[in-house]
Amino acid sequence: MKNNNNKLVKLVSVVTLALLGSGCNLIYKVTGDTMAGYSADHAVPFIMSMDDAAMGCASGEAMSPLLMSFGRVTTPAHNVGVLLYASAASCAEEKGWNEELRYLRALKAGDAAEAEDAREAQKRYFALAAKRQYKAYKHMDAYFDVALGEECGDLDDREDQLVWLVGNLSGLQALNSQLSSLSDQGIPTNIASKVGRAAECLKDEDWWGVPSAMRAVVWTMVPGTMPKGQNAWARLSQSSKQGENVGVRLSHVFEALAASNANKTDLLKDVIRAHAKSIKSMPVRKDAAMLDRIATMNIRAISDRMWTEKTGHRTPAGSLGKFPDDVVQVETLDLDDLL
């Protein structure tokens, strides 16, 4: 009898453990699905509507490990992953920009050792940014599961279109960051051409001119990609205006990037001026405030670089859209009559 009881206890224990084990898995799975669903339905739109880019970056760094870890127990939330990693990359990018400013100040001061150190630090941050941006791109790849650059994903929903837009944008950024890092982060160098073609899957009127701007910036950067009869600069300018008109000025970043890349300093200044003017005169579109703020961060980073090269410090408060070598016309009175 005692023997039978022992057997029963053992059996109950095994069954209980098995139930508990599967129960945990079940709970994890349900939690994971809930978190993924919640993130896609609420957290992402909420973050996209925030106008605090620093918090967007911090939330990307903080939330990515937790939310993406649910991919171990349930289907990974690739769509959320795209946005999280893209946000997390912006933290690394901003640190890289700051190191670049330190580098420029050191060069200006003739301090080669400090400049070299800052440049190395800058390269490390860009390597990190490249990795994160490429992860965002890979999550987009996994989410849509199509031959990127050759065909469009299933883009019926606006949420999915956002994932496509941010994912492809991240791919382009990943390549740029890899180039700035002077290291091999495993980012394929044909990604720019693929992104240029993938941008055709979205409509300009739905996405504030960004798809055309993405295509055009690729044309200016990858030799031989611009189709006959197209004008990249005209497209970029048109896209920028579209963005200004609706209060999501992401296209300015592409126009500025292309202008800087092609040494078109006057155009670059005009783009920065237009951005500064627009953020004062045209209110931001509420559901895309984060993207607009990220655009401003990028534009300000370019302005900071220009200011630091000339003066040793970044753009002074209230001076975005102004440049150190601007000639300021100051009106004065004629004092001769008083003498």
Binding site: G110, A115, L179, D184, S193, T225, N261, A262
Partner: protein, 334 residues
Amino acid sequence: MSLKKVLAAGFAASLMMGTAQAAEKKSFCVFDPVGSNGPLFNLMKESKTFALKVGVDLELRAYTDEKIAAEEFKAGQCDSVLLTGTRAREFNKFTGSLEAMGAITSNEELRLILQTLHSPKGAKFMKEGNYEVAGVLPAGAIYLYMRDKSVKDVADLQGKKFATQDYDPAALTMVRHVGGSVVPATVSTFAGKFNNGSVDIAYAPAVAYTPLELYKGLGTEGGVFNYKIAQMNFQILIHTDKMPEGFGQASRDFSMTRFDQAFDIIKTAEAEIKPSYWVEPISKDHTTGYDNMLRDVRIKLRDEGVYHPKALKLMFKVRCKSDASRPECAERLE
């Protein structure tokens, strides 16, 4: 203390002074087909800190058109410039001959040659008039990309359209030598022409394969001929009189520290070419035949004044050092 040491100490002291005093502003015009976000421009940014140490404040400007960069350098509007070896030939025939067809058959040979030329004993070959080569960076072996891989031998190249850098007499001679038809192209336009079928054949280093999507032109029928036509390179040139004394050698020392990185990039790029695209020469005899053909072209171009005889001789010595059994080593025509 020997005279050499005194001079070296003096030079070091002047370099130290350079950092203490305001650095002299000098322009550096960098050809990069992508622009200031491109790989070459980013790599050349590294030279700013090295230059500062020798008292020069280098101002980098990106040029997507190599011809304009070369012209502005020639006109004195750029104190220094980065160009492909082909464009650099008009400023230094010796280093401009390092891209001679078939003259360098492996990375090891290239490394040995570059290390030698970048050392102080190679300095005499780096100067030509007021121009000085302040660094040569390897860009990788040039391969033939064919839209139709049924091309198996030189005879099959007859009548094929080649995307050709027609400002390069060596390329023109070669294409005509094999009976090809010249379709003018530049570093920026050849890929588009190859991918859209305007030409049958393009030549380029492996670093162009992925970014310019040459696999689109290769499609299902194409192939990459696994024979190193030449070794492409990029060269930094300076107007000697516009730079502080000793800048050229200091820059060459700096360039030498970048060789490993350059060879790593080349290795990665070559590994990206899909294995099924590689087309091997039919036999060893065929390879020897190509070697001989390229040697004949080199000698012809040497006699026409395109290639520098001493550069060809140096590369001949290195080829025979790495493989003394090459038939040319007994013939000694270069």
